[in-house]
């Protein structure tokens, strides 16, 4: 609840008439200013010395510097990419951007999946069901004790042992699972699909508004009308109707085995999947513990008071326990999100081309180690600070508000 509470005495002190600054060592304000100027000055001097000296040494060793290499044609091959990439014409800058996108992709999906699994496992550990509680406990204790890198190599080795493309496991002629990854049919994108997607967004907004309206009416009249029929028609009916009105186009890009490998369709590569699996399984174990401790931090009296009021168990969990547990859960949960994102840099061990992998290749091909490492650091710092900022905002949002 950080800075929201203001001690009235502090406010009074702040409002006190301004004192003149005396240029004397006995004045605490003057001393404070002098010390701060000295410390900032020292920090600036140190940074200036380090940067200047590095530059001098680089020049003395005839090492080229600067970020000009970002505009040079990369020529390095990249296995998987969310945006089009051609090594013959695209630059190192674009190659690195692909790395960042790959990192973001695996982190974003990983965070969502780890949160869901972690929450379920955390609640499972508190379950009255002996088997469920023991199984989830076993999972948490085992997974936390094995280094992540080993787990990644384990998952990757496991996926290697899937059959060759020609003997792949298949569902009809559409879905193939082999050691080249999971091949899925891909929807051929038509304008109608874009409009349907837009309708889905509109439907979601409508659902939120309707939900708010229902709640307001409940607060005013005590009558609660059901939300789901409207939500269902807005979320599914509306997009379907838009799509049907535009002629209901539907065709698939099917994967087919040609030459060495499957052509067409979409792919989930073993490298991506092994990394995702490793990160999710590992981080979910920690999140489970965070969730469990958060729930246990809510005193039993709260729960009993809820039952005494005659509330459902679900309502108690949703309305009483979870809102209070969230306050305990969110700060350590933020750390886990940051860990997952940073751990994704282990991708290089199993051949998924994240930002570290591509930046390493770049710094090897261009020889610009300082710039390459600086780039990696800047990327992780940006991602981590963004996650922190969002989670801090959310933390303040759910924090106890003094009324």
């Amino acid at each position: 609840m950080s800075g929201t509470i203001v001690d009235p005495r502090m406010a009074a002190a702040r409002a006190a008439p301004k004192r003149r600054l005396r240029l004397s060592w006995s004045d605490p304000l003057f001393r404070a200013i002098v010390w701060q100027v000295v410390i900032i000055g020292l920090a600036v001097l140190l940074a200036w010395y380090l940067i200047g000296n590095t530059n001098r040494n680089l020049a003395a060793r005839h090492i080229a510097t600067g970020f000009a290499f970002l505009g040079r044609v990369a020529g390095i091959p990249i296995g998987e990419s969310l945006i089009p990439y051609n090594p013959a014409v695209d630059t190192f800058g674009r190659a690195l951007l692909i790395g960042v996108l790959n990192t973001l992709e695996v982190s974003a999906i990983g965070i969502v999946a780890a949160t869901i699994i972690g929450t379920l496992v955390g609640i499972g550990r508190l379950s009255g069901n002996w088997l469920l509680a023991r199984l989830t406990g076993f999972y948490v204790e085992t997974v936390r004790d094995i280094p992540l890198l080993l787990q990644l190599l384990f998952w990757y080795a496991l996926l290697h042992n899937l059959p060759q493309p020609r003997q792949s496991l298949r569902v009809g002629d559409a879905v193939f699972l082999s050691n080249r990854g999971l091949k899925l049919p891909l929807l051929n994108w038509e304008p109608a699909h874009g409009w349907a997607l837009l309708a889905l967004v509109a439907g979601a907004v409508g659902t939120v508004l309707w939900n708010r309206h229902v709640r307001r009416r409940q607060e005013a009249t005590g009558i609660r009308s059901p939300v789901w029929p409207v939500a269902l028609s807005l979320l599914i009916g509306l997009p379907l109707a838009v799509w049907a009105l535009l002629g209901a186009p539907l065709s698939w890009d099917m994967p087919a085995l040609r030459g060495f490998n499957f052509q067409g369709g979409g792919t989930i590569s073993p490298e991506f999947f092994a990394l995702l699996l490793g990160l999710v399984v590992y981080t979910a174990a920690y999140i489970a513990e965070v969730v469990r401790s958060g729930i246990q931090a809510v005193s039993l009296g709260q729960r009993e008071a809820g039952s005494a009021l005659g509330l459902h168990r679900g309502t108690i969990l949703r309305r009483i326990v979870l809102p209070q547990a969230l306050r305990v859960i969110i700060p350590p949960l933020t750390s886990q999100y940051l860990n997952l994102t940073k751990n994704s840099s282990l991708a290089v061990a199993i051949g998924f081309q994240d930002v570290v992998s591509i930046a390493n290749t770049t710094l090897n091909q261009t020889g610009q180690a300082i710039e390459g490492i600086a780039y990696i650091m800047a990327v992780y710092l940006t991602i981590s600070l963004s996650i922190s900022a969002f989670m801090n905002w959310y933390n303040n949002h759910v924090a106890l508000v003094g009324r």
């Binding site: 090492i63 390095i76 261009t366």
Partner: protein, 358 residues
């Protein structure tokens, strides 16, 4: 190889972060050390003075590559790259054993050399313009002429690299192989999917398990890898296409020309010895030779060693303690089943040609 063969040192594969950290530390040391001009009194080479004061040569090697640098069962580093370090140590200090082998990776090798962590690199590094132009390094000699090749499984039925359209290829990241492959597939207008794994044993595992259709790196490394598979070697085929030039060189820092000369002429001395038939076994019998070339090489006539800032017995020490170039080859590479080919003397159809020592 430039990357591949050497890559990364399975032992501490894991510790990619350790590596990055190491890089950071190296860079930090770069930011702290001050430039020291070559001292006026010494040999004229700051590097040579430092080696003599320290009592040993710091030689950056891979330490994980059979035939090039790999510790044997007694923990002694063996291989062509390791012996190259020994030869330079013999020239610089008079004792081939005064070498400390510093393990380097494809990732940190240049930074290690630039920051003075090692005196030279002998770890299969491809000589390119970019590296000499941008990195403040120079290549003193080539101890292995190599080229990028492809290894495939016999069951794939591929006869030429041009039939690899649509194939998945296992490549070490950060190597010149990576660029050579991209160029080759682009030129031939065929597609491939790269799988880039840093740790070389993981990479080879991915190929053997069938994740990749082909494994691409320097042909020498493919040959030693195939050889190491024992009876299963028969199932693997080395494609005839060599798609790039990979001259693997000995690298030193720019700005110490004297040191560059010492490394370069060490190799010229070994090749000259092979041309003249002088070996570690028979070198003493040449000490009463009448041939001026041999007398100059062995320091019996002229001041060749002094011109390099070394003892006049420099070449004698190299030959006596390490051997000539052919001996180095026979000791390390021949057992791997790799023919000498273009690495032979120019008189035998190869590329190794020694300028005169006079």
């Amino acid at each position: 190889m430039s990357g591949a063969r050497t890559i990364d040192e399975g032992e501490f594969t894991s510790m990619k972060f350790a590596r990055s950290l190491y890089l950071c530390v190296l860079m930090f040391s770069l930011s702290l050390t001050t430039v020291q001009p070559a001292s006026a009194q010494g040999s004229g080479s700051a590097t040579l003075d430092a080696i003599r004061a320290r009592g040993q040569l710091l030689c950056g090697t891979a330490g994980t590559t059979p035939g090039f640098s790999l510790p044997d069962s007694q923990g002694v580093m063996r291989g062509l790259d390791a012996d190259s370090c020994r030869a330079v140590a013999a020239a610089a200090t008079g004792d081939a054993n005064k070498v400390k082998f510093v393990p380097t990776t494809t990732q940190n090798r240049f930074t290690a050399l630039q920051s003075g962590e090692v005196d030279m690199l002998s770890r299969g590094t491809t000589w390119t313009l970019g590296r000499e132009g941008n990195l403040g390094l120079e290549f003193a000699w080539v101890n292995y002429y190599d080229g990028t090749g492809f290894l495939v499984k016999k069951s794939a039925g591929v006869k030429s690299a041009k039939e690899l359209d649509g194939a998945t290829v296992c490549v070490a990241p950060g190597s010149t192989t990576e660029l050579a492959d991209a160029d080759f597939f682009r030129i031939n207008n065929i597609k491939f999917t790269p799988i880039l794994i840093q740790d070389v044993s993981e990479l080879q595992g991915a190929f053997l398990s069938g994740r990749c259709d082909a494994y691409s790196t320097d042909a020498s490394a493919l040959a030693t890898f195939r050889f190491s598979q024992g009876p299963k070697a028969e199932e693997l085929v080395l494609l005839p296409d060599i798609i790039s030039k990979e001259p693997l060189g000995l690298v030193v820092r720019k700005s110490d020309d004297k040191w560059f000369d010492i490394v370069r002429w060490t190799f010229i001395a070994m090749i000259t010895a092979e041309e003249k038939g002088i070996t570690s076994k028979n070198v003493d019998s040449f000490m009463d030779s009448k041939e001026p070339d041999i007398r100059r090489l062995l320091g019996l006539e002229g001041d060749m060693g002094k011109a390099l800032g070394l003892d006049n017995k420099w070449a004698y020490n190299i030959i006596k303690q390490v051997g000539n170039f052919g001996e180095m080859w026979d000791r390390s590479i021949t057992p791997m089943g790799v023919p000498r080919g273009i690495n032979n003397l120019w008189t035998k159809g190869g590329l190794q040609y020694a300028p005169p020592i006079r």
